[in-house]
Symmetry: C2
Subunit: 242 residues, 2 copies
């Protein structure tokens, strides 16, 4: 925050714990809803979003997302994903019509998503702290490569509503980080923030960019690429351009 402000940026912070953020998406998210009917989350979410009857906390976060040029998601990796409070932020703020269900949905156009959507043109970056060692998250590490562990977030949560997704800023063994290392890491993070608009985002393919069959949404033949060690024909990394 200090670094961004010192560079002339305006920063809004959502400290979910300090805000007492409600993590669980449930019927209370739809105050205008008839509670006697079976809850269909997608329908209820779409109706609340379209009719301006969402809860104020969700509306506030959506407004902040629309206001921002870039969004930094900072969290500790818990069980190879986000803490529940942040997952609940996604579950609740990404309403139908805002985070998904955007654009035409037909046999010829499966929505504006994966590179298109309401948040298109904005940039997003994960800042992730971990207790484990870097080697445990390396290409052959026991936890799985961190790049792949973060794919459901980078691709499925950030690229999905349109963000350009930057390479994540990763910190390992944070429990044993000394002052010197902390200062160094602050500097490195500062550089990443300074270069947020000049660094290249991860080259995820756009769903409607011509690389996918529609409506099957499978990658077209011929898009195999030279992978890390062999020609990939499937898997997460095929969804990045070579």
């Amino acid at each position: 925050m200090d670094h961004l402000v010192s560079r002339g940026h305006t920063v809004r912070v959502s400290d979910l714990y300090a805000m007492g953020w409600k993590a669980v998406l449930d019927a209370d998210d739809f105050p205008a809803l008839d509670n006697n009917k079976r809850l269909s989350i997608g329908q209820a979410s779409g109706k609340a979003y379209a009719t301006g009857t969402q809860t104020p906390d969700v509306e506030g976060q959506q407004a902040d997302l629309l206001w921002a040029d870039a969004v930094i998601f900072q969290f500790p990796l818990w069980w190879f994903s986000m803490p529940a409070i942040l997952k609940g932020w996604v579950d609740r703020v990404y309403a139908f019509g805002f985070g998904y269900g955007v654009g035409e949905h037909s046999e010829t156009h499966w929505g504006d998503r994966y590179g298109e959507g309401i948040l298109q043109g904005k940039r997003a970056m994960l800042v992730v702290t971990m207790g484990g060692w870097e080697s445990h998250y390396s290409e052959r590490g026991v936890n799985g490569p961190i790049q792949d562990l973060l794919f459901p977030i980078n691709h499925g949560i950030l690229h999905y509503p349109g963000f350009d997704v930057m390479q994540p800023f990763l910190l390992y063994k944070v429990h044993s980080m000394d002052e010197e290392s902390f200062s160094h890491n602050c500097e490195e993070l500062g550089k990443r923030l300074d270069n947020l608009w000049t660094d290249q985002p991860i080259a995820y393919r756009k769903q409607n960019g011509g690389d996918y069959e529609i409506p099957a949404l499978t990658l077209k033949p011929g898009l195999e690429k030279q992978g890390l060690d062999c020609d990939l024909k499937s898997g997460f990394r095929l969804h990045q351009m070579p």
Copy 2:
């Protein structure tokens, strides 16, 4: 539930929404803790677990896990992972000393995890409902292969504390499932439950089974396997035996 009971099994159900499960891991999880000190989750969790000062809801779920021979986790896929309430179940129930931090941690033995641990010998299976089409989650589907999307859960949350992990039971396009299809899927799920103890689990490697360098925890050279389409030298699938 009905199917398992009809086969003579005893079933305990944790319906997290009905239970009003607290999703957010925070200082309230450690009632014996000095709240004036900075909260270190791992330390606080380990102390509460070791001294019997956890909250009753967490203790109850741990007791149920120790009681069960097999655990079925049923949830809708929200943003390519669990709903926040279930992630919060993992964050809170998997205490230090129970879900992690088990066994010797040294330069020669990095804990009892990934195939060893408190839940070793038990079986676990995901039952996952999705709105999207099967092709969207196929080997070349735009969302990424479902097998890889579930790796952080199957490997990182289930295999980690020792579960033998069964192939998941997957249901696509659930919003448009008709009665006939629903009945068919119930039958198929019934078969999977009947065969829970005779089907082969996913052949994840054990961390302490000799395949990993210690303490780097990288797969030893020579464990490349014939992958789906090429010899894998990295990635999630290398952590399954050929």
